[in-house]
Symmetry: C2
Subunit: 204 residues, 2 copies
């Protein structure tokens, strides 16, 4: 590889992205070479804008160009619900369903002893401060905190930890449902999801 060569340089830069190997990076590069320069420029400018304008929302720790972020700044969101997510991609996935109109809180990770990530490495203190701030204005008993960490080992453990921490505030604490995915086939579902679907079955 000749790194002074602009083509090789871009291939190398692309191949640092997750799950992008050298062949895919080369495909991206030659695609851009064959397109108008504008496509390349827009990608370059968007990359430049990323770190310079994105910051944590001081309320919910969402990543945004504004502080407060568009959820915390909106008067159309239900401020009696806070949905706690692991990261911004989970927030976006929930937002895309159109089912949720409350606020968010982004932890930026989960407690993971294996990876050496403890509660202090996450935005948990900010969540507690947020509830303490609320206590003065509204009644906390009307509030619901929905724990929407991933249904993984670390996500479940983090949810359990948070629920112990949040209950003393007198808020309602709930956990998103786990079970077999909608539209799936039991034959191909994993055993844990089927087991959850049975244990958490609801009366009809």
């Amino acid at each position: 590889m000749n790194h002074a060569d602009p083509i090789q340089r871009l291939i190398l830069a692309f191949s640092r992205l997750p799950s992008v190997g050298e062949k895919t990076a080369a495909r991206f590069t030659f695609y851009l070479l064959n397109r108008d320069q504008e496509v390349t420029e827009e990608l370059s400018n968007a990359l430049n804008a990323l770190h310079s304008t994105v910051q944590f929302c001081s309320t919910c720790a969402n990543l945004s160009a504004q502080d407060p972020c568009r959820f915390c700044a909106s008067d159309k969101r239900d401020s009696s619900q806070i949905c706690v997510v692991e990261d911004v991609s989970a927030l976006m996935a929930i937002e895309k369903t159109g089912e949720y109109r409350g606020l968010y809180h982004v932890l930026h990770g989960v407690i993971s002893p294996f990876e050496g990530i403890g509660p202090d490495d996450l935005k948990i203190a900010a969540l507690l401060r947020r509830l303490q701030g609320h206590a003065k204005a509204d009644s906390l008993s009307d509030m619901e905190v929905i724990l929407a960490t991933n249904p993984s080992v670390d996500g479940e453990a983090t949810s359990l930890y948070l629920s112990e921490l949040l209950k003393p505030f007198g808020v309602q604490v709930s956990r998103i449902a786990s079970g077999v995915p909608m539209g799936s086939n039991l034959q191909y579902a994993d055993q844990l999801s089927i087991a959850q679907a049975l244990v958490r079955r609801r009366a009809l």
Copy 2:
């Protein structure tokens, strides 16, 4: 989608790359957000350098920051061999084998009546000029032009067209071999490749 948002803007810019959907584009974006700013900057700078520094080599039409490109400028390459390829990614694939020490000529496409691409849309005239230039210095009968367009319908047709065009120059014209891929299993090989492997069989 809120396009003023820097995260959404980068996701949109990434999703214009081939085979990158919104989820992959989001994964790239959040990956970069979680890495040092340098990784993002290097990708942005490499993108900026692409169109501003890359040009056609005036000899072989390879894309390069230098003219002549590193192959045409090298005195270690065998100038009696010219390997004709469809595009720079094919050149790179051949170069990576380490088996070829001659020069290249990049067509930047193949003749494709279906897509309205004729001989004049490719770097064929430059290849003929190159041989005419050669005629003054060396003996053309010692030269070999290896046609390495892809073994597709258009690639085969382009090879055939080029061989008719090149033979009057008195150069040797050859075509890369087609057959079953090395290390493959006949059970899974396509019928055309097996047929080629039988027709092009060699005596041992």
